[in-house]
Amino acid sequence: MRILGHKLSVTAQIGLAIIAVNLIVAVFAPLVAPYDQTTILGDAWADPDIHHWLGLDNLGRDIVSRLIYGARMSIGLALVITALSFCIGIITGFAAAVTGGWVDQALSRLVDLLLSMPTLIFAFVILSVLGSGLPVLIVTIAVLDSTKVFRLARSVAVGIVSLEFVEAARLRGEGWWWIITREILPNAIAPLTAEFGLRFCFTFLFIAALSFLGLGVQPPDADWGSMVKDYRDMINFGSAAPLYPAAAIAILTIGVNFVVDWMLSMHSRGQGEGA
């Protein structure tokens, strides 16, 4: 199978399939899910049967449906946060690379400082006081994560700015806006896209971990992480319930990582030369 003229490895194809399934489920959840996510259908912790493939949860709701609706929250939240962190990171990173001087120094030192501190602990500290409303969650994690995007965007931009065709544009008298959008950005797409995938995975896992620890998504909203938390006691009775949402998290992350890994290995092969 080929995309844009590049051959896909086996793992990359599996990854794309996984991503596709997840996206479809998330977007079309009401159409795909057999039941509503809040309706109580029977006894708590009923065993799996023909109607409820994974059984019922701690309140008697269908686990499969909850998983499907949970996809929306988990994936949607991670996408929004990653998009926001990307915007912040790219704008500041490119600005730092292109302006240079003390602006660049100041931003870089600030980012270094933030990067050398443990994100989980920080998120903890902030969320424990501000509470875990969705807006707070989104902004906090996006800002913390944008530091990593800043690093990459800046280093990619600095690398491109040092090439002569950027100097040629400057000598022509082009303004910085033109240089960033027409000279730098088209050459930065490849590494940035791979990074988007990696950031998505990190954010996705991070949100799930926070929810698992009680600080992420709060009831009545449910994402996969908080489902793991809700089901965790059942493990001692031999039920595999907490494994289902955890496996869903794992599978999507593996899928995205397979695709990103393929992208990175392709990019490093370099372009061919003509005669």
């Binding site: 090439l163 002569e164 400057r170 088209p186 003509g274």
Partner: protein
């Protein structure tokens, strides 16, 4: 040299060697196609060709080694009676570093930065168990002395990054010789060095070969260099042998057309160009300009020059002379701290950002490395069309027509207009760069080492193109280069720079004729010429001067 050789034993016998690329994706191009040669003891065979000719591959394959994804798929490589392809990897390993030695192009990249020089020089014979460490060290110091290295007793205790490029190259030669090899492969050993350093290294290598009586394959793309050192020369192209014969015959009476072209390009153009300056006002006047980088004082110190319409002024110097910095000062990328730069009589603001669009339009620049001078994501239309629309506000249709016209001027096919620049070859990219500069209809074009990264023949074509454009359009060039041969071919005026200062300037004819400034003389005499006795002459002259 040659008549003594016939009859001495053959040390390395390559028969019909074929090397090809093979990856998971299938078979790739053939890098070496059916090459044969016999190397006798004490003989030097020069392998000459442009990039992609396969000469390095042959050099490495002679040691039974190929790079990643490359395989020797045919032929035999017989060293001292044993076919290297027939023995196992362990057998080949035992021969390398000892009987078969290799000297690489870049010494800086070939030394382990974490080990001392002496450790690495002695490593091969000690690990192959033919010498004790003490014996190896003694032999190494002896070689260092033979190679005219400073402080031969102590230089071994240094780390690679603590010695200069030319010295490191000679230490690498010592490393190759210490095991008393029978065959040495020299792989473009002086290509990365400055012209003046090159002479010392060449002399050192030649002495080494003569004294130790080894056989050598000397790989280079420079005919003049190979003329100094080889007994026989093999000309290669696209992996195939074009011509193989005695050195004098190849250089003076080449039989094949490709060889003739190579020889002709190297020897042609010794007549100086007449001054063709026109106009009362110089297009560019630089007056006593001083510039520095933060922390690095006086990168340019008091340089003055004038370029008139139709002139080609060459700015010559070695690395660190400040010639490229001069270009940055003229264009405004580096603001000058003193002096004046005038364009058509009017003073230019020191900073790029303070100049008008028209001022920017009239001075254009062409760069050395074609791969990074063009945005790989843009098409030829984008690249050449942008200056047209940016400076002249033309409609889309007009821009496209102008680009097609320029492509025709550059002898590039019209359908290139839709191609992405990353799909073009080095020479084609450089033509697109020139077209981009011309699209602005400038008065002055600064050419910054525009042929240095290109193969010899391709570079010559670019120079011819530039001359033709100048004749047609009357544009002036500031031609920055370290290649004196190119200067003689294109420039009517020249400025020689050394460490930021101007040491000579004027018409090419007078600067390059005696009496010379001593540095000019050093530069001129360091450029290898095709005569095989050139090196001896230079060395004799230098010795005489040192004794005087």
């Amino acid at each position: 040299m040659t008549s003594e050789i016939a009859g001495t034993p053959i040390v390395l016998d390559i028969r019909a060697m074929r090397v090809a690329v093979r990856t998971d994706a299938g078979d790739g191009p053939v890098l070496v196609n059916d090459v044969s040669l016999e190397l006798r003891r004490g003989e030097v065979i020069g392998l000459i060709g442009e990039s992609g000719a396969g000469k390095s591959t042959i050099g490495l394959a002679s040691m039974g080694y190929t790079r990643r994804n490359c395989f020797i798929v045919g032929g035999q490589i017989v060293f001292a009676g044993t076919d290297l392809r027939a023995i196992d990897a362990e057998g080949r390993r035992a021969l390398r570093g000892l009987k078969l030695a290799y000297i690489a192009q870049s010494a800086a990249a070939s030394f382990n930065p974490a080990m001392t020089l002496m450790d690495q020089v002695c490593e091969a014979p000690v690990r192959h168990k033919v010498m004790t460490r003490a014996d190896a060290e003694a032999a190494a110091v002896h070689l260092f002395r033979e190679l005219d290295l400073p402080n031969p007793e102590t230089i071994g205790s240094r780390y690679p990054h603590q010695v200069s490029g030319g010295q490191l190259q000679r230490v690498m030669a010592a490393m190759a010789m210490v095991g008393k090899p029978e065959v040495i492969v020299f792989d473009e050993p002086t290509t990365a060095l400055d012209v003046t350093t090159q002479v010392e290294c060449l002399a050192a290598f030649r002495k080494l070969i003569r004294v130790h009586g080894a056989a050598a394959l000397y790989i280079t793309h420079d005919l003049a260099v190979v003329a100094q050192i080889a007994d026989r020369i093999m000309v290669l192209r696209h992996g195939k042998m074009v011509e193989f014969g005695e050195a004098r015959q190849i250089l003076q009476e080449p039989r094949e057309e490709y060889t003739q072209r190579l020889v002709r390009e190297r020897t042609e153009g010794h007549a100086f160009i007449d001054a063709k300056s026109a106009g009362a006002l110089p297009v560019l006047a630089v007056e006593s300009v001083v510039a520095d980088y933060v922390g690095k004082p006086k990168v340019i110190d008091g340089v003055s020059l004038e370029i008139f319409r139709g002139d080609t002024l060459a700015v010559v110097g070695e690395s660190g002379s400040g010639k490229s910095t001069l270009a940055r000062v003229v264009t405004g990328l580096l603001p000058r701290v003193a002096g004046d730069v005038r364009f058509n009589g009017a003073s230019l603001p020191p900073r790029l950002s303070n100049r008008t669009r028209d001022q920017l339009r009239r001075i254009q620049m062409i760069y050395q490395m074609p791969d990074v001078a063009l945005n790989p994501q843009q098409t030829v239309l984008d690249v050449i069309g942008r200056p047209v629309s940016f400076y002249f506000k033309r409609s889309r249709k007009e821009v496209r027509e102008r680009v097609l016209e320029l492509l025709r001027h550059m002898d590039l096919p019209e359908h290139f207009i839709e191609r992405k620049t990353s799909e073009l070859s080095g020479g084609q990219k450089q033509r697109v760069s020139i077209a981009r500069a011309l699209a602005a209809e400038p008065d002055l074009i600064i050419c910054d080492e525009v042929t240095s990264a290109l193969d010899q023949l391709v570079g010559e074509e670019i120079l011819r193109l530039l001359k033709r454009l100048q004749d047609e359009l009357g544009v002036a060039y500031m031609f920055i280069t370290h290649d004196l041969g190119a200067v003689k071919r294109v420039a009517n005026k020249v400025v020689v720079m050394l460490r930021g200062q101007m040491v000579a300037s004027g018409d090419t004819a007078s600067v390059f004729a005696p009496p010379y400034h001593p540095y000019t003389e050093l530069l001129l005499s360091s450029v290898p010429e095709m005569r095989p006795d050139w090196l001896d002459e230079v060395l004799a002259r230098r010795r005489a001067k040192a004794a005087a």
